[in-house]
């Protein structure tokens, strides 16, 4: 099957898909911070991660897009789901107890942080590099991960191992007390 798109239509399609991804990301972020129920917040987080994976694709890195899906959507979101199932947070009840100023103050703070970061980034003069020494393809990422940055690779392995063991130890803490 051969679909031909006229060359004039390509940038419009590209921008349309990009804007759609940005909308999905922002909608997911809003859902994950504003939803009353925690399960919906996790769903919003997943939607946000999906949008970010698409944005990584636009940033010339399909490898990172797939990793985003695997690690964040596949592992982190499921871990948070387990935390919700084990601890049953009742945000409806909590919201009644918290002072009314927390929401507006948080919105003000978040807006201020966004504004400062965005305005700084927009007003700065970024210098494009004179020459790119490679394209950043998956092959090159793998090569430099196992040569120049092999230390990073090993460190990540150790950090993950320690995190797994540590989480088992911490989660088992206080278990005996419950039984007696």
């Amino acid at each position: 099957m051969n679909i031909s798109i006229s060359p004039d239509l390509v940038p419009i399609l590209r921008e349309g898909i990009f804007l759609g991804l940005v909308v999905v990301t922002v909608f997911g972020a809003m859902l994950s911070t504003l939803a009353k129920r925690m399960t919906r917040a996790v769903l919003g987080l997943v939607v946000c991660f999906l949008g970010i994976a698409g944005i990584y694709y636009f940033l010339n890195s399909p490898f990172l897009a797939l990793m985003q899906l695997l690690i964040y959507v596949g592992a982190v979101a499921i871990t948070i789901c387990f935390a919700i199932m084990l601890a049953e947070p009742d945000e409806m009840k909590m919201a009644a107890k918290t002072p009314g100023l927390a929401g507006p103050f948080a919105a003000l703070l978040g807006g201020a942080v966004t504004w400062v970061l965005a305005s700084t980034a927009m007003s700065a003069q970024w210098m494009a590099p004179a020459v790119k020494i490679n394209e950043g393809s998956v092959k090159q990422v793998g090569e430099s991960l196992l040569t120049t940055y092999s230390m990073v690779f090993e460190l990540v392995s150790i950090v993950l191992l320690v995190a797994i063991l540590g989480s088992v130890v911490v989660a088992s803490y206080g278990r005996d007390k419950e039984e007696c």
Binding site: A29, T33, A41, G111, L117, I133, V159, L160
Partner: protein, 106 residues
Amino acid sequence: MLTLSTQLNTYLFIGAMLFGFGVFGLVKRPSLIGMLIAAELVLCGASVNFMAFNRFLAPDPTVGQIFTLFIMAIAAAEAAIAMSIVVAVYRNYKSIETEDLVDLQG
């Protein structure tokens, strides 16, 4: 308008917005799990920034990708640790509200 996806500023703005949403959630949420979700948003904002600079400004475009992979691994480790802490706290206090965890009078 038709070059939006090929400009550095667009991506920097998306990163700043995700970071802002994360800070907003961190302050607003009354429970530990809500704060954990917001912290993930902060990490994602940082990753998008790294990837944007990597795509447009870095002479060696593998560096940012590797650093973003590093951030992802740290985020996964952080989520696992935070989940076990939440479970331990819930077992001892029967609650994961930040308001209830004031044994040290903080």
